[in-house]
Every structure is written in C-alpha cells, then in structure tokens.
C-alpha cells in the first residue's frame, strides 16, 4: 500500500493525525496552485480550506478510481477555477516564441553561445537551501499555467495523465506548458551557474 493509501485508510478510521499528515504533505502545493486561479492569498487560503472540508465530507463517497492525491487536487482546481470565474479573473494566454533565445544560435541553427557545463555540478556549486529558494523563485516567476504543470509534474511528481485530469487539459497542451516551464527553470539555473549571455 502506498503512503497515500495508508493515509486514506487511517482517515476513514477517524485518525486525526492522518489528516494532519495529509495537510502537511499537500497544503502548500494546494495553496500555490489555488493562487494561480484566484486573485489573493486570502481567497486562495479560503479555497484550500473549503477543499479540505469537501475532502473530509466526501471520504465516504470516494471510490478510489483515482489516487487520493489526484482526487484532492481535482477538487481544489474545480473550486479555485469557479472562484476565479466569479472574481472575473482572467489568465494571460501562454507566451509564444522559442525556449532558448534565438541570439544563442548561428544562422545555420547551431549553437553560437552553447550551454556551459554544469549539469552534474549544480548541487556541488550551490547549497541545497539556496538551490531550493532559487527554483521556488523560478517557479513563482513562470506564467501561471506553466507553473501549475511544472509544480504538479516535477515538484509533486504526478504523471502526465494525473496532471491532465487535475487541470482538465489535453496531453498536448500539458506537454507544451511543461516544455516552456521546464525550459525557463533551466534558464534560472543557468543564470546562476553560468552560460548564456550575461
């Protein structure tokens, strides 16, 4: 049984600590995700609290056709989205253009300013706390839909199918958002570790 399945069984047994553990595991990510649909921290917190209550109230009906995690994030996104709609909040359309600046390639499309070597050195060159802060800052700087996808895929470790279900987007759309978001995060690391135009 995976960790979430164990938590689910404990929750159904009325174990308060199981709820605390679940909150500890997902609350921050849920808050971050909610923030990309609604206009303020206060509204996002309200949406996440409503979600927790809906999860508790829905426990008896939850049929485990999806994982606990997918289920709770889906409830969250539905609530955040409808709250965002009520607030008439619009999300900017995804940006277009290449993921690596065209100035880094020559006329034949080969690298003119190639990436410097750091792929195996990032953790030796930046300490863990700074690295985490750097990437969190990078995530916060992404356009919201890209951030949602990268957060769920790469930070939370969901599969593409799970992310598509939670965000109600197509596989192709998910992949485009993932591509753009990840590429920008790479650039954030590059700007710290070297390479590219200064």
């Amino acid at each position: 049984m995976d960790a979430d399945a164990t938590l689910l069984a404990r929750l159904r047994d009325g174990d308060e600590q199981a709820f605390t553990d679940l909150v500890g595991r997902y609350h921050s990510a849920m808050l971050r995700l909610a923030l990309s649909f609604v206009s303020s921290q206060a509204v996002a917190e309200e949406v996440v609290q409503d979600t927790w209550l809906a999860v508790l109230r829905g426990l008896g009906r939850f049929e485990e056709r999806s994982s606990l995690r997918t289920w709770l994030f889906t409830i969250l996104v539905n609530r955040a989205r409808s709250t965002g709609v009520r607030e008439a909040r619009t999300v900017p359309v995804a940006d277009a253009g290449p993921v690596v600046d065209a100035s880094r390639f020559g006329p034949n499309g080969a690298w003119a300013v190639p990436p410097e070597h750091w792929a195996q050195e990032a953790e030796n060159r930046i300490d863990a706390v700074k690295l985490s802060a750097l990437l969190r800052g990078g995530l916060d700087g992404l356009p919201v839909r890209q951030r949602d996808v990268v957060l769920l895929r790469d930070v939370e470790g969901m599969s593409s199918a799970e992310v598509c279900q939670v965000l109600a987007i197509s596989e192709a759309n998910q992949r485009v958002l993932l591509h753009r978001g990840r590429s920008k995060l790479r650039q954030v690391l590059e700007s710290e570790l070297g390479g590219g135009p200064r």
């Binding site: 009325g14 308060e16 709820f19 605390t20 909150v23 500890g24 609350h27 921050s28 990510a29 971050r32 917190e45 609290q49 927790w52 209550l53 508790l56 109230r57 290449p98 993921v99 690596v100 065209a102 390639f105 034949n108 499309g109 080969a110 690298w111 190639p114 990436p115 410097e116 070597h117 750091w118 792929a119 195996q120 990032a122 953790e123 863990a128 690295l131 985490s132 990437l135 969190r136 995530l139 990268v150 790469d154 930070v155 470790g157 593409s160 992949r175 993932l178 591509h179 990840r182 590429s183 995060l185 790479r186 690391l189 590059e190």
Partner: protein, 92 residues
C-alpha cells in the same frame, strides 16, 4: 530559404539544427516522439556535445525541481485546519 532548400537542408539526420533540438527535448523526455524523429534526435546528440549538455541540464532541472521543499505551514494555519477537522467530526 525556399521550401525545397528547406527540405534539402534537413534531409540528413546529422543536419537537425541545435535550435530545433532544444524545442524537441520535452517530447523526447516524455517518450512521445515517433521512432524516426527520435533516431534523428539521438543521432544529433551523438555528435553534438552542446545539445547533450543541454539535455543533461534539462534532466537535472527536473530532478532538482523534485527536491524543492514546500514552505512549512504556519502554526496558525495548522491550528485552523485542526479546528476544521474537529468541526467536521461533530457534523455527522
């Protein structure tokens, strides 16, 4: 560039331009590329240390993103959620 010269330019796998490779990386890592495109990309990677480094950087970015720690909950928020749980317990 005419359409024909464009076609000729990309006729050989070795001629996949780096600029195009960086746009294919996610499809490659997601395993959704067709066999022909994947072979063409891998052929390019075999001969291009820069794109190999770029791909390695993307993999490293993904791995490091997976280690990003979320902010801890404030004690107030924890207390509020514990309250919420206890209120729910008395609902039924």
């Amino acid at each position: 560039m005419s359409f024909l010269s464009g076609l000729l330019r990309f006729r050989s796998p070795a001629e996949l331009p780096c600029q195009q490779v960086v746009e294919m990386v996610t499809d490659y890592l997601e395993g959704v590329m067709g066999t022909a495109d994947r072979r063409r990309l891998e052929h390019h990677l075999d001969g291009c240390p820069h794109c190999t480094e770029y791909l390695a950087q993307m993999r490293e970015t993904i791995r490091l993103a997976g280690r990003v720690t979320q902010e801890d909950l404030t004690p107030e928020m924890r207390a509020e959620l514990t309250d919420l749980y206890r209120r729910w317990r008395t609902e039924g």
